[in-house]
């Protein structure tokens, strides 16, 4: 079942492409934490990639931290292997940790089904927004609702985001 609004962040410990290990606990003190299910091969991820990078850069100084997680089975999608993740992070200069969920247990624990799929937690690490980055993967200039950015602004202002839930639009997670 997918994590519901106000539920606590689900703990994990995953390797990042930078050789370090990351967990939500290591981000205690952040004003907000976004766990985002991600991958290399998905065209929806590619379409949103620059926007998500820009969001992390825009909000880093305000204590917001993103953790991107790839849970896809690289046996089926070799572009999503750990080595390819390292290449992608380097090429794009990812300003966030990019983690590999090889067992897929983290995706199952969150109830994630798509890439990209955003789970935004407040400073108490409780879920305040879940869903898509915005309402238009195809045309950034035509975006009407910047769900993720608006949710970040809300949580930083101590308000509950509206909406708290949108449909994640993207590729399905590739299960083993």
């Amino acid at each position: 079942m997918t994590l519901a609004t106000n539920e606590s962040i689900v703990s994990f410990s995953l390797p990042g492409v930078d050789g370090k290990t990351y967990s939500p606990e290591s981000l205690a003190g952040a004003s907000a934490v976004a766990v985002i299910f991600w991958c290399n091969h998905c065209p929806y991820v590619r379409a949103w990639e620059e926007r998500v990078i820009a969001l992390q850069r825009d909000y880093a100084a305000r204590g917001v931290r993103f953790l991107l997680i790839n849970s896809n089975d690289p046996a089926k999608y070799p572009e999503d292997s750990f080595e390819k993740m390292q290449e992608r992070a380097r090429e794009k200069g990812y300003p966030f940790p990019y983690l590999f969920d090889e067992s897929q247990a983290v995706a199952r624990g969150y109830g994630a089904t798509r890439t990209p799929e955003v789970f935004l937690f407040d400073g108490d690490q409780e879920l305040v927004y879940h869903g898509a980055p915005d309402d238009n993967y195809d045309e950034p200039a035509a975006v009407q609702h910047q769900y993720f950015r608006d949710a970040l602004e809300a949580v930083l202002a101590g308000r509950a985001p509206t909406p708290a839930e949108t449909a994640a639009r993207g590729c399905t997670i590739k299960w083993r």
């Binding site: 091969h41 065209p43 929806y44 590619r46 379409a47 089926k76 993967y137 195809d138 993207g170 590729c171």
Partner: protein, 114 residues
């Protein structure tokens, strides 16, 4: 002209892509039928050399052959490169319009030389 539209239902852009194809045909005044194929299994994807959803073929030719080879023959979502270089899960309206016009000319030329 034979027009094939192939999709895998796990990729949400297919309905919009089919709408764009229908609009492109209407704008060009073309009444050719679209053969819609739901690619549902890996075996079917391999048999069709399916490069991902959505895919449009005009007389058997992909509307963006330069991106069609990536991952061909498996169930996946398709990455298109738009005119401005942006990646997208959707072919642009302009891309569809241009390919329809080019294929119509190719077809007319072929008919005239027979």
């Amino acid at each position: 002209m034979r027009i094939d539209f192939l999709y895998w239902e796990e990729c949400p852009s297919h309905e919009e892509a089919l709408d764009r194809l229908r609009s492109g045909l209407a704008e060009a005044g073309m009444r050719d039928e679209i053969t819609v194929t739901h690619v549902a299994t890996e075996a079917q994807a391999r048999a069709l050399a399916f490069p991902g959803s959505p895919t449009i073929r005009l007389d058997g030719r992909d509307i963006q052959p330069e991106t069609a080879a990536e991952g061909a023959g498996r169930l996946t979502c398709r990455l298109y490169l738009l005119e401005d270089g942006r990646p997208s899960p959707l072919p642009s309206r302009e891309m569809i319009r241009r390919r329809l016009a080019e294929q119509a000319v190719a077809q007319a030329t072929k008919g005239a030389t027979r």
